[in-house]
Subunit: 482 residues, 2 copies
């Protein structure tokens, strides 16, 4: 394909995308396919000769769309949002075309420098302490692929820092003996990727019990630390969550932070979903205590309209990250690297290669403006409260956790079995999509406001559908009991 | 921005991209900026109100392009190629718009299923043993973000498998005691990401000396194994490289494979660059011995015209990968997951989230056809030999490693200092871009054929420029010696 053909086909693709998103509401949010549906629809092997673009495009509707879960449908209320916006699409097109692999400053200075400055912009937008900004001192930000990677990178940096510290205090200690005693902590509400980070990093990972608002407080952490230290273990890392996946709970940073600082625990904050809300002054208080943290992460690719992937992470001391990873083979060396002025992001992350992802932030920030982004967040929170009100007015249902941002946890009063059946019936109808969680021993339905284009009428529709499904289910139950 | 605006702006971006790539040759391949150049060019913080698209686009040329290293210029001969093609751009646009996060089958069945089938297509294209294909039995393929991640995932799977095996043989062994004795191996020519995988996984990583063709053979591995076993260590993993970064050397799989199998070492093959060449029957012999491997990886985002990121990895036994990572919180569970029919790719990788990357493979394979892709590989190999001939005809220069694919390692006969000066002068002129390597104790220049649009005339130009720079340098040296 030459550039003349690309000019034509690229424009057709732009129209296809606009059409898809303009009419996404008309598609069932969940696909009606069985496992293995796709393989019989396409040939067994790649064609020897080129096929036409028209044939490929026709197959999008024939092969792909029947199997797509439409995450951007206004009837999608599952998981958490994933970012989607036209400015981020435009930026990502440009990123593909430039196609530089920005593992070092020299490999594409613009790629590194725009990232550094965009992380400062975003840090300012959420009023992050200046320690975390590149402009002032020893901190700085980086784009990771996902919050999972950010947690892992923080844990690895903490592991290395702790090993070095203990070995400098006592040179006879072996790395293996320290490693076998290291213990990391998170809330019992933390995301599964935190436990996974411990598994990858070969350290013990313990969960701290959350209280009845699904938050971890200082006393619970303190107790675990005392027990573990008494047993000869070495606590080194705590991952706090702001906006847990099950219920959007918030760990109590103002209690936890001072304990972590006193006890030499690296404090990492995972605010994957909730972090975007901190651009609104009325939600910024939820981040209070970040000043105690060593690293902080959230996902603009979740709630800040940036298309996946773009997970922003800041550290107070960049030397900690770099120290955990730095390798310098000759083929990656360049003139400027010892100048202290530049950043080689390959030392900040698990992969070597990286796309020019900061373009997405730049385009989105500029074409929405901070106010436009705040409106987006506020609309979602408003709609969540609208849904909450509907639930509260219906005495068959109960709200299961405080609604703070865009997530509502609710259930039918009654058994878990009943709620499992309700969820199954809702999803089987394919009109809206929800996923569940456990809160305590309760099976709970999660209603997350997700789509960029969701409006009040979709919330009202969704609630009407949920109640209709519930009534049908309850009637069926009553009949069965007779 | 609404969809009407996107239709207009998206089409302008398509034209900008086509213009950029049509005229990329006219831009200096290396930027002339100093560290810190970008920050003063843009405001200190994000705008409160939306800015116009026109203003953002103008800043591309003003702010970004002056700092871009043009990886797709036909004068870029550094590192290894990174994929770029119009069909992959189109597919990635669609991937952004669909914007599903395919961590499980249910989260978007098409995303998972197309990936599984595309990995089978590509496996067939390189004639991978059927054990590695999803269609037949227990193997299968997955798209990772980078070869670094593939190596790490393989190492972690091997670590877990070995710990489980030893504990089943001797239940009294603790994980910590096993971990402290595990030892992994790679060639001394292996990529820095292999050493890094060992660091992350908290296992010893030793390098095996390569021979004078920069390959590791069976005898060298055997010797290391005997020594380490005698010292009480537990060898568990070998990462073989096909197409090393310094010289495109190939480890001797036919010798190494049987040893790994006998000694219970997980054999992972990193063919990040070279793997794409195996779609050509005349290069497929370089992969002989893959039948001994547990996992195999290469990067279609390097040499197969797929835009970053797309690193394909196959395993013989998918249960080994899944076993190393599997976590199943309720919010990620779905109806089909225990059916045995489906794949939840989140268990195969480090991050949880993932883009719909297989669309890029599907578009590229169909719009180039296998023959089109083979032509692309063959053109690069032909041009590398054309450059090799130019070097060989000039008695001032020497070729430093056998030219097998698209990389030529060469140097001026003489000191390392001379060659360092030559490289610096070449890159300072910004007409072409090369990076160096060490082969033995020699400082060597790497000439990698990279661009999709590179032709014979660019090779001839590059050589003319190199020789002119060398003559100037030699004249200067002679003058200084007087």
């Amino acid at each position: 394909m030459n550039s003349t053909e690309f000019r034509k086909m690229g424009k057709e693709m732009v129209d296809y995308i606009a059409d898809y998103l303009d009419r996404i509401e008309e598609r069932p949010v969940l696909p009606e396919v069985e496992p293995g549906y796709l393989r019989p629809l396409i040939p067994d092997s790649a064609p020897a000769k080129p096929e036409k673009f028209e044939d490929v495009m026709e197959d999008i509707e024939r092969v792909i769309m029947p199997g797509v879960t439409h995450w951007h449908s206004p009837y999608f209320f599952a998981y958490f949002p994933t970012g989607s916006s036209y400015p981020s699409f435009l930026a990502d097109m440009l990123s593909s075309a430039i196609g530089c692999v920005g593992f070092s400053w020299a490999a594409s200075p613009a790629c590194t420098e725009l990232e550094t400055v965009m992380l400062d912009w975003l840090g300012n937008m959420i009023n992050l302490p200046e320690d975390f900004l590149a402009k002032n001192g020893e901190g700085g930000g980086v784009i990771q692929g996902s919050a999972s990677e950010a947690t892992l990178v923080a844990l690895l940096a903490a592991r290395m820092k702790t090993i070095k510290r203990l070995q400098s205090e006592n040179p006879e200690l072996t790395e293996a003996s320290i490693l076998s005693k290291l213990v990391a902590y998170s809330s019992d509400q933390a995301h599964s990727s935190v436990e996974r980070a411990g598994l990858i990093g070969a350290v013990k990972m313990k969960t701290i019990p959350s209280d009845n608002s699904f938050s971890v407080g200082g006393a619970a952490l303190k107790q675990a630390l005392e027990e573990d230290k008494a047993a000869g273990l070495i606590p080194f890392f705590f991952c706090a969550t702001l906006g847990t996946t099950p219920s959007c709970g918030f760990d109590r940073l103002l209690e936890l932070g001072p304990i972590c600082n006193e006890e030499n625990l690296w404090l990492h904050i995972d605010a994957a979903y909730a972090g975007s809300a901190f651009i609104c002054p009325e939600f910024r208080h939820l981040l209070n205590g970040v000043e105690f943290a060593d690293s902080f992460n959230f996902n603009p690719h979740k709630w800040l309209l940036v298309v996946f992937d773009c997970s922003t992470m800041w550290v107070k001391n960049r030397a900690d990250l770099i120290g955990a990873f730095k390798m310098d083979p000759l083929y990656l060396k360049h003139d400027h690297q010892e100048s202290g002025l530049i950043t080689d992001y390959r030392h900040w992350q698990i992969p070597l290669g990286r796309r020019f992802r900061s373009l997405k932030m730049w385009f989105v920030f500029r074409m929405y403006g901070v106010k436009g982004l705040q409106e987006h967040i506020r609309k979602h929170v408003r709609l969540a409260h609208e849904f909450e009100e509907l639930v509260r007015k219906d005495e068959q249902f109960e709200i299961c956790a405080e609604v703070i941002l865009g997530l509502v946890c609710f259930r039918l009063k009654g058994s878990n079995r009943l709620n499992e059946a309700l969820l199954k019936n809702i999803n089987d109808a394919r009109k809206i999509h929800l996923v569940p969680c456990h809160l305590g021993d309760k099976f709970v339905l999660r209603f997350a406001v997700c789509s960029r284009i969701v409006e009040s009428r979709h919330i009202q529709d969704a609630w009407a559908h949920i109640t209709k499904t519930a009534v049908k289910l309850l009637r069926h139950e009553v009949l069965q009991q007779k």
